[in-house]
């Protein structure tokens, strides 16, 4: 840390910090396995339209309440007269209803799981981008400028921090779902997926901005900042040209862990009905509807929740490995821990 990454000339023996980190990461087999799992999950979600069109021959929201499906020689009802959906057929019907149907409506669970994954991942990734961008800018400005700017930002973060995250998310989710959001000429309707993205992106900011601010406060006393100021660099130049490059490794780690955390938050919000709105569905909202029939069809709860667990787990493990690789003698370890994986910022 504290070293600006230098472009490395191929063939020289000196290695930049990024290359060293890459080598350390490559040796960490558990972290690589986690990355592999995560990429697999992303591909699984991306393949949704392909599977829907070519294998399952149905969309995520298409209902099959009275349809029959041919398994081998017999015809089976997708939803029996008592409303019990068909269980996993695997390739019994050529991949249709691979994981069975999702309840009374008889929608294809596999297709829904894939499309739900798209929603969950999309929200997790884009809200983490929002959180990270806001947190870095706020942390940089507050940490470098100090004075009243810092006081204002820090108190603002305190206010957001003091809200129980899930409550704030729900409060915003409910309020915005009623009338949508209007910022100047931009109008977002209440059912839009942008609403949960913005909410989750916003409420997580303090958990990342605080530790980044702390790190900026430590960095600004370093000689290279003094040198830059002495050379006549302006405030913006110092913040984004000198301080930011030194924060990258922290930011990357936070970003990874933040995706995991935001996905849990999204799942919690959607579970409570304050996140994704129908007809969109995410893994969280799928668990929510699965729980209603958990005693007759437990798979409908286990599968989407298991996907959330697997995704969040892979991100957490990879994020840990990334931190160890980027910053082996991590002094920010505790701060990273208390900052981002802080359960007060998690949906319980």
């Amino acid at each position: 840390m504290g070293v600006t990454p230098e472009p490395n000339v191929a063939g020289t023996s000196a290695r930049g910090p990024w290359q060293l980190a890459y080598r350390r990461l490559r040796r960490n087999r558990i972290a690589l396995a986690a990355l592999f799992v995560f990429v697999g999950i992303v591909l699984f979600a991306l393949a949704a339209p392909l599977w829907a069109e070519h294998v399952a021959h149905t969309g995520p929201n298409a209902t099959h309440t009275t349809a029959k499906v041919v398994v081998g020689d017999e015809k089976r009802e997708v939803v029996d007269p008592e409303g019990k959906p068909v269980g996993p057929l695997w390739f019994g019907a050529g991949g249709e209803f691979f994981l069975g149907a999702d309840g009374r409506l008889g929608r294809d669970e596999m297709v829904r799981l894939m499309y739900g994954g798209r929603t969950s991942l999309l929200i997790g990734l884009s809200s983490a981008l929002i959180t990270t961008t806001l947190a870095v800018v706020l942390g940089l400005v507050a940490g470098y400028r100090r004075g009243w700017t810092d006081a204002l930002i820090a108190r603002g973060l305190d206010v957001v921090w003091a809200f129980p995250v899930l409550l704030l998310g729900i409060a915003l989710g409910t309020a915005l779902a009623v009338g949508g959001l209007k910022i100047g000429p931009v109008q977002i309707s209440g059912g839009s997926i942008l609403i949960p993205i913005l909410i989750i992106g916003f409420v997580s900011v303090p958990y990342m901005a605080r530790p980044i601010r702390g790190e900026v406060i430590a960095l600004r006393e370093k000689e290279f900042v003094e040198a830059a100021v002495a050379q006549g660099s302006g405030t913006l130049r110092v913040m984004f040209g000198e301080l930011l490059p030194n924060l990258w490794s922290t930011i990357i780690v936070f970003f990874t862990l933040n995706i995991a955390n935001n996905m849990l938050l999204e799942a919690g919000l959607s579970y409570l009905g304050a996140g994704v709105r129908p007809p969109d569905s995410s893994w969280g909202s799928m668990v929510s509807s699965g729980v209603e029939s958990i005693y007759t069809a437990p798979l409908l709860t286990i599968l989407p929740g298991g996907m959330i667990l697997l995704t969040v787990l892979s991100l957490n493990v990879f994020g840990d490995g990334l931190r160890d690789a980027l910053d082996p003698k991590s002094k920010i370890r505790l701060e990273a821990r208390t900052g981002i994986a802080e359960p007060a910022g998690t949906a319980v």
Binding site: V159, L166, I170, K182, G268, G290, G305, L334, P343, A344
Partner: protein, 319 residues
């Protein structure tokens, strides 16, 4: 010290004021629809909407409405739009369940979090450590409501070990009280056990290299004594901070997923009910109630820190 406490208390009041304004704005400015319209329903006639607007004072200027709402919250006159029941009353009724859940879960997670973290750190790199690390990472990655659903399926539906849901007051039947809360306690504790054990582990590993640990060994203390009296004790300070914040958030109704899936009828579940019916006054009151506890415990932690470590209060006095 007294000045420090006073300053923290003033800051706390300011943060709460800011939060109350924020909550109020969330419900009155951002949704560009009329609260009277929401209350009257989608197909209400204009006269009804006008009457409601008149009765509830939605036509007053926003600052007047704000003061009025806050007055109602603090005098206990706030009425739910949907059920027409008293909001503060319902929050008070929910407090025993919420407190029972949080205190029980906190005892479990502190105990196991500290034991697991301690064992992990002492045997760092060994099989025990690896096993506990894997368990901890899984613990922090599980969606709580999903874990709750799986527990209910396994332990009540399949094995019939615990009653399904609901809350029995402690004063009514202590055994049923514990029986009904066992699953919620464990569900809520899992995440925190994972998190606390990891924080404690890394703190202990950090402090094992410190000079005072070497000194303790040099003066002839046994490994066990060094580990418990020196390493563990010092590593527990950040745990205390974390605990203050987490506990504050949960007591404030933060465990609303756990509360609602187990139908405990606590404050958090009240918030969820209010959300499902779009009932705004309870959401506002519960948010404020929750924020109060978060800010309160935040302040308590700061004060405790200043008491334990004079550098903190001198540091902020210098600012």
């Amino acid at each position: 010290m007294a000045r420090f406490v006073l300053r923290r208390l003033v800051a706390m009041a300011l943060v709460l004021f800011a939060i109350s304004v924020l909550v109020f704005l969330i419900f009155n400015v951002i949704p560009n629809s009329d609260p009277a319209q929401r209350m009257a329903g989608k197909n209400a006639n204009p006269q009804l909407v006008a009457n409601i607007t008149q009765d509830w004072g939605f036509d007053e200027p926003l600052p007047v409405q704000y003061v009025e709402t806050m007055r109602k919250i603090f005098t206990g006159d706030l009425i739910s739009y949907n059920t027409q029941l008293n909001v503060d009353q319902r929050i008070l009724e929910g407090i025993p369940a919420t407190f029972s859940l949080c205190i029980g879960a906190a005892l479990i997670w502190l105990f196991f979090g500290i034991v697991f973290g301690y064992l992990s750190a002492l045997r760092a790199g060994g099989p025990t450590d690896r096993l506990l690390t894997v368990a901890a990472v899984i613990g922090v990655s599980i969606p709580v409501f999903w874990l709750a659903a799986i527990f209910l399926y396994l332990f009540t539906f399949k094995l019939h070990l615990f009653p399904a849901t609901g809350y029995v007051p402690l004063t009514e039947d202590p055994i049923q009280w514990a029986n009904h809360l066992a699953l919620p306690w464990v569900t809520l504790a899992v995440l925190f056990i994972g998190f606390y054990s990891r924080v404690l582990r890394s703190n202990m590993l950090d402090s094992m290299d410190e000079d005072y640990v070497r000194t303790a060994r040099a003066k002839g203390l046994g490994e066990r004594q060094v580990a418990i009296r020196h390493v563990l004790r010092n590593s527990l300070i950040p745990i205390v901070t974390l605990f203050g914040l987490d506990f504050g958030a949960l007591i404030g109704g933060g465990a609303l997923l756990t509360e609602s899936i187990f139908s405990l009828g606590g404050v958090g579940e009240y918030a969820v009910e209010a959300i499902e019916t779009g009932d705004l006054p309870p959401i506002m009151a519960v948010t404020l109630y929750g924020a109060f506890f978060v800010v309160l415990f935040n302040t308590l932690v700061d004060i405790a820190y200043a008491y334990l470590d004079p550098r903190v209060r001198l540091g902020s006095a210098a600012q």
